[in-house]
């Protein structure tokens, strides 16, 4: 099996059908990134398609210095950010505390060491709290805390400086805490 750089070269040379193979290799990663920003599965699929179409259009700019996975991940994050900004304009917070499962609500009102939380419940709570943050704050929190990226990597994805990301991370964390406290208080 050829590596991604060879595959990209073949596609650029005219073997357009090979793009399906490239998509198959990276679709799970792209879905995983986008699902952190959007919970609706149909929208996640639309955003994933948008990501791969953007990559197709920009394939000439892929120089192979960084792995294709990093390149497509950046496009996915930017697509998710564009989506959050559009959503902010057209949609109000349509997820309410009533949408949280019983386990998630129990955990919110309990002490940390006395209650366990499943992945689904945690993701629901986080999503609800993150919706109250500006899109860039959300992107920084998701990349730093859920995807384990460094400040340098986040800065490259968001096309900003490391200092700016550090400052935003501190501010975003404080905002997230406040949002979670509000949810816990039933606001």
């Amino acid at each position: 099996m050829s590596d991604d750089v060879e595959l990209v070269q073949r596609i650029r040379a005219g073997a357009a059908d090979d793009y399906a193979e490239l998509v198959r290799r990276h679709q799970t990663r792209v879905f995983s990134i986008l699902y952190r920003y959007e919970r609706d599965l149909q929208r996640v699929e639309d955003l994933a398609q948008e990501t791969f179409i953007k990559a197709w259009r920009a394939l000439a700019q892929f120089d192979g210095r960084a792995p294709f996975e990093h390149w497509i991940s950046r496009i996915a994050v930017r697509t998710a950010l564009d989506h959050l900004r559009r959503e902010k304009k057209h949609r109000k917070n349509d997820v309410a505390i009533e949408d949280l499962g019983e386990d998630a609500l129990d955990w919110l009102h309990s002490d940390a060491d006395k209650s366990a939380l499943d992945a689904q419940g945690a993701a629901e709570i986080l999503q609800l709290a993150l919706r109250q943050l500006p899109p860039l704050d959300r992107a920084v929190i998701i990349q730093q805390e859920l995807e384990g990226r460094s400040f340098k990597e986040i800065a490259a994805t968001l096309e900003t400086s490391v200092i700016a990301v550090r400052v935003r991370a501190v501010r975003a964390r404080a905002r997230l805490k406040r949002a979670l406290e509000n949810i816990g208080a039933g606001k």
Binding site: I11, Y35, A122, E145
Partner: protein
């Protein structure tokens, strides 16, 4: 919300399983990509595009070179004003005044 609880929340959320793409997702992307117009098809970057990409760095390097030359010229002039004056006089007499003198 204390830090321990926030850590717990992130750790649990990290374990969530992402949705699995539909089996025909890659084919659907390919169909959509094929609908793109030929102008939007991926193509190697042209020489002008590459130069355009290099432009800020080339401009900065040229500017630095010019500043370096001007600074070096000023330094040399300040260090030996008489010598450079003599050299200029010698140069002008050799190449401008020289042949006329011979003709006379």
């Amino acid at each position: 919300m204390n830090n321990l609880k926030l850590k717990q929340l992130f750790a649990a959320a990290r374990r969530e399983t992402p949705p699995v793409p539909a089996t025909d997702f890659a084919a659907a992307v390919l169909r959509a990509a094929r609908r793109e117009t030929p102008e939007e098809m991926p193509a190697p970057a042209g020489i002008l595009e590459q130069l355009n990409g290099w432009f800020p760095r080339l401009a900065l390097a040229s500017l630095m070179l010019i500043v370096l030359c001007v600074a070096a010229d000023n330094l040399l002039t300040a260090a030996s004003p008489a010598d450079s004056g003599d050299m200029a006089a010698q140069f002008s007499s050799q190449y401008f005044a020289g042949p006329e003198t011979e003709d006379l």
